[in-house]
């Protein structure tokens, strides 16, 4: 996680720490409100130079006129492999996507493995191979790495951290504060595939579905969007943990405007919808690993959507709503029959509802 900004980091004296919770809970890592409190209340004041900047997916830095984008992400997933992908692939695509939605093409990355003693070599080999393949597909060089091994029982098989640098695309300024009422919201494809695939792959539910993770590099789609609508692209985000609802709530907060979504325009596969109905989950809260959201100025919106639909893997992209003055700081979903509801960020992990 990082702060978007061009300044060279300089630490302020006595920063205000607002994080007052006595210990770290699982929710602090779940990507919702608690995560945000931790980052904004503890990390940002102590580590980041300009904590007033909205949090972005990658930082853009300027070294005497040379601009680079940088980001890092850690991957913890159980099971390690699942239909449509595995942790190795996620680790590459996740970082490539964080750079992509900040408006940069990933060029190189370094990798850290934290391995649990006793991990079978074939499992590791499969993940390293998956990373190599994903990196080749995304056109990114893996430039180095580090390995640590911890005692058996001190880690869950393996954790992977990837840190990537990228080249910012020209003529693009991604900033939530540039978003205006009337802007359109685009979504690259169906949501919830990854989160539901993982939930089913854990084998705790006797449910089967023909579903696979959507993990992929979204850069080709971002590039198509930027080529068609570059000056009109105001904001992008990949809705991973916490889903579309969490990303759009962050946007609403950062730009101080309201987000109005039209529920029937949001693409959701039947299998995802079915699993969500059964488990009492909302697809808008489910994680994605191969989709992104974009806010585009209205005069560019049709060109942007066409470009996405024409690009490979973008045929299901949709315009799902627009930015409005109200409800300021919140996301309002209009249902198919004229009812509406506010949808908040996810609190903690999505928990299935049974009784």
């Amino acid at each position: 996680m990082s702060v978007a900004g061009d300044e060279t980091p300089v630490l302020a004296s006595s920063p205000p720490i607002r994080f007052r919770e006595p210990q770290i809970e699982m929710a602090h890592g779940a990507g919702g409100k608690a995560s945000r409190r931790l980052v904004e209340g503890l990390f940002a004041p102590l580590l980041f130079a300009s904590s007033s900047e909205p949090l972005g997916d990658a930082a853009h830095l300027d070294f005497n006129g040379t601009r680079i984008a940088i980001t890092t992400d850690s991957f913890v997933v159980k099971p390690l492999s699942f239909p449509g992908g595995s942790i190795g692939e996620l680790a590459v695509n996740g970082t490539v996507n964080d750079l992509a939605v900040s408006g940069a093409k990933a060029e190189a990355m370094v990798v850290t493995y934290v391995l649990e003693a006793g991990l079978p070599t074939p499992v590791l080999e499969a993940e390293v191979r998956a990373m190599g393949n994903a990196a080749r597909r995304a056109g990114v060089t893996i430039a180095g790495g580090d390995t640590k091994v911890v005692e058996h029982g001190k880690a869950d098989s393996m954790y992977i951290t990837t840190t990537g640098i990228g080249r910012p695309l020209h003529g693009l300024k991604i900033d939530a504060r540039s978003v205006r009422a009337g802007d359109k919201i685009l979504l690259s494809g169906p949501i919830g595939d990854h989160g539901i695939t993982i939930l089913l792959a854990r084998g705790e539910l006797d449910l089967e579905a023909d579903l696979h993770s959507d993990t992929r590099s979204v850069f080709p789609l971002v590039e198509a969007l930027v080529n068609a609508a570059g000056p009109g692209v105001r904001w992008m985000r990949d809705p991973t943990r916490g889903g579309v609802a969490t990303s759009l709530n962050e946007l609403a907060r950062d730009c101080g405007l309201g987000i109005a979504l039209v529920e029937e325009m949001i693409p959701v596969r039947d299998a995802v919808r079915g699993a969500c109905e059964l488990l009492g989950l909302d697809p808008l809260h489910i994680a994605n690993e191969g989709q992104f959201l974009a806010v585009v100025a209205p005069e560019y919106a049709n060109a942007a959507l066409n470009a996405l639909n024409m690009a490979r893997g973008g045929q299901d992209a949709q315009m799902i709503g627009e930015v409005r003055e109200q409800p300021s700081g919140a996301v309002l979903v209009t249902t198919r029959y004229g009812g509406s509801r506010i949808i908040d960020m996810l609190v903690g992990d999505p928990l299935p509802r049974i009784c």
Binding site: A27, K33, S328, A330, G338, I342, R353, C355
Partner: protein
């Protein structure tokens, strides 16, 4: 999606909504209670209040199992799980419900072995796979989930699985409805009856509500159209000055209920003389306990349970909200000390709890409309 989409057809929904407007007497105020938390959730999730005239007021009932569970029971369950080699297994619904020392999830983060299961039989499977541990299933729910707990206990006994027990918090819906009707500050015109519970108990147990209390009941499904149709049914009855039990959820609910499920419950459970409900107090014969013949699998008999009563924070008005006397936002703590992230009462935890539903789906919307109105 079959059985879902036809009940969300915008055209039919609009027509039904128009019918409600036609049926509702503009000079009358209607208070209709939806008993079940699942209905509360659906009403907010689909924004159904936007489709009703303002003189139809929906009152959220007591049918949210985690909401009516007193904090002391959660503490008791967690205290068992604090003993060595005990796994605490429960539905996801329970995981964020606060005890005095935090929720099961918070205990998990501190090292307790807490597992989310999707059915009691999953918990039994877990016990079979972990012979060196004891798995305690924290059972919650109305008659909807009680039969599957019963069948799991039957299986545990038949297969002699001894490292498994159930901490039973199953409650029954009828005494709760009675308590609400007996409450002096409660005026309800009609009920939207529970759907899932009725798949087990059928429609007969509600007959006294029509006969003795003269209130219409429509047993309802959970899709937007189900709920709107049920409102039409009770409005028609009110208009005709009738009171009867109607079954809107016929595709799932048999009038006579599910005999096999009821038999399994009767074999394994018996009524407790009384049980404490959060917000409603002690209600006699309102909850189930495990029969003596299954004592070995009854966590309350097998382990030492402190059994401490914990009173809710004074300022919290969960009881009034549960009974429908107050709307969620009228509670002094709503949205201030008590939020879905830092819930004080369980009503703010479960997505079926009226406070959480109101907070998540409605609260800022209402605040916004009010602020726009005040500007205008």
């Amino acid at each position: 999606m079959k059985f879902v989409d036809e009940f969300r057809d915008p055209e039919v929904i609009t027509k039904t909504s128009e019918e409600i407007r036609r049926l509702a007497d503009p000079n009358r105020h209607y208070r209709i209670m939806e008993v079940c938390g699942g209905h509360t959730h659906a009403i907010y999730r689909f924004g159904l209040k936007d489709l009703l005239p303002s003189n139809i007021e929906l009152i959220h009932g007591p049918g949210c199992p985690v909401c009516v569970l007193p904090m002391g029971r959660i503490d008791d369950g967690l205290s068992i799980a604090q003993q060595p080699d005990v796994i605490f297994a429960a539905f996801g619904d329970m995981m964020r419900v606060p005890g005095t020392q935090g929720s099961p999830l918070e205990h998990k983060a501190r090292g307790m072995d807490v597992r989310i299961v999707y059915s009691p039989s999953d918990a039994l499977k877990l016990a079979q796979m972990s012979p060196e541990k004891h798995v305690m299933f924290f059972a919650i729910g109305f008659e909807t989930t009680a039969p599957s707990t019963a069948l799991t206990l039957v299986r545990a006994k038949a297969q002699s699985i001894h490292n498994f027990s159930v901490f039973c918090n199953h409650v029954t819906i009828i005494p709760a409805i009675r308590a609400i009707l007996d409450s002096p500050d409660m005026r309800i015109d009609a009920f939207i009856g529970p759907g899932h519970v009725s798949t087990v108990i059928g429609c007969r147990p509600y007959e006294w509500i029509a006969k003795n209390e003269n209130k219409p009941v429509a047993v309802s499904g959970f899709e937007p159209l189900d709920i709107l149709q049920s409102i039409v049914m009770v409005l028609r009855q009110l208009k005709a000055d009738e009171a009867k039990i109607e079954n809107q959820y016929k595709r799932v609910v048999p009038w006579e209920g599910n005999h096999a499920a009821l038999r399994a419950m009767a074999d394994v459970f018996e009524l407790r003389p009384y049980f404490e409900w959060r917000g409603l107090g002690f209600i006699s014969q309102s909850a189930l306990r495990i029969r003596e013949s299954y004592a070995e699998w009854d966590a309350e008999q097998r382990f030492h349970v402190p059994g401490v009563r914990v009173t809710d924070p004074k300022a919290a008005q969960c009881g009034e909200v549960l009974k429908g006397v107050l709307k969620p936002h009228q509670c002094k703590l709503f949205g201030k000390e008590c939020t879905p992230e830092h819930p004080i009462g369980a009503l703010m935890v479960s997505s079926e709890g009226s406070c959480a539903a109101y907070f998540n789906y409605e609260h800022r919307k209402t605040a916004m409309v009010t602020s726009i109105a005040s500007v205008a």
